[in-house]
């Protein structure tokens, strides 16, 4: 399904406590073939958008567990239906936490191994370039993007992890500057340096790092985040050959 207007409409869901919603909205506005609009967590439909962003932040104060309460927001039923229908959903940081709590992605996100909030650049190695979120990359490409989180330690049971690897659901891993998966390159203790994963149908994607903070050459942060959104735009416009 290709957007009639020729521009991809992104919906950025705003939960109480979201704080990267404006950044995500702005990031999308830097693409000529995309527009962004906010969707309030109490809305019960997605206003016809072509793709959904669950932004970073501290939805509901991270009470109980990160993302645990946001999962029950009225809009999440619409997001679940949209995802079940094949719609593109990206969850960034707290958005990733909401996706795992919702069961839209496997596994869980624990407190960082070092027990500290981490805020630094990481190198992300593209493990699967055949997704709607990474088809603009080649396997092994490194993206330099920031992380800023306290609970980004990805955990999943070994059986599920093996299935995910076999299907290619591990999309991004933390690597050093040479692309090696070292413990030092892993900012939070995630199993097998996992930074971003897809669901089985490759239309729901969660990542802890923040591509929306790396979209403009004149700003600190570089532009490596653009490729993720460009891939989504191309996918939504039907311009990309995406294996799923």
């Amino acid at each position: 399904m290709s957007p009639a207007s020729g521009r991809v409409r992104f919906g950025v869901v705003v939960f109480p406590g979201s704080n990267c919603d404006t950044d995500a909205h702005h990031a999308i506005s830097t693409f000529p073939d995309a527009t962004a609009q906010y969707l309030w967590h109490k809305d019960t439909d997605l206003a016809g958008v072509d793709a959904v962003i669950l932004p970073g932040g501290f939805s509901y104060g991270d009470y109980l567990r990160c993302g645990a309460i946001a999962r029950f927001s009225p809009i999440m039923q619409a997001v679940r239906d949209f995802a079940a229908d094949g719609g593109l959903v990206i969850g960034i940081c707290n958005g990733f936490q909401i996706l795992v709590e919702s069961g839209l992605l496997p596994g869980g996100l624990l407190r960082n191994m070092g027990l500290k909030f981490v805020c630094r650049y990481v190198n992300l190695r593209v493990e699967n370039p055949a997704t709607p979120f990474t088809h603009t990359c080649r396997e092994g490409d490194l993206l330099r993007i920031i992380v800023k989180h306290n609970e980004g330690n990805y955990a999943v049971d070994p059986t599920t992890l093996a299935q995910m690897k076999a299907r290619g659901q591990i999309v991004l891993r933390y690597a050093d500057a040479h692309g090696k998966l070292t413990p030092a390159a892993n900012p939070n203790g995630s199993v097998e340096n996992i930074a971003g994963i897809c669901n089985e149908t490759f239309n729901v994607f969660g990542m802890m790092p923040h591509p929306e903070n790396s979209v403009e050459a004149h700003m600190a942060g570089g532009t490596d985040g653009r490729t993720i959104f460009q891939a989504m735009i191309d996918s939504a416009l039907g311009r990309a050959e995406v294996k799923a």
Binding site: A68, E101, G107, G108, L110, R111, M113, G114
Partner: protein
């Protein structure tokens, strides 16, 4: 009924908080401590419809734990339900 729910990191998942506390205790002279797990304690009153048995109440609490109070993918939970 009084309900007490204990949520801990799932067995097999490394608990960095527990490990840190475990390393700190010997420094204070407390020896022989192992398997420290740090989790959450949740207590609440439950007033089920009249005629609800303790068994039914326990089933309800179990469902609450699985659906919200704990995340069974990363956490274990136990609970007690007392009349009163």
């Amino acid at each position: 009924m009084n309900v007490r729910v204990y949520v801990t990191p799932k067995k097999g998942i490394l608990d960095p908080q527990g490990a840190t506390v475990e390393r700190a205790l010997p420094n204070l002279g407390f020896s022989g401590v192992s398997d420290v797990r740090i989790g959450k304690f949740i207590e609440f009153r439950l007033d089920p419809p009249p005629g609800t048995t303790l068994e039914q109440a326990r089933a309800t609490v179990d469902e609450m734990c699985r659906k919200l109070l704990a995340n069974p993918i990363i956490e274990d939970f136990t609970f007690t339900v007392d009349e009163g």
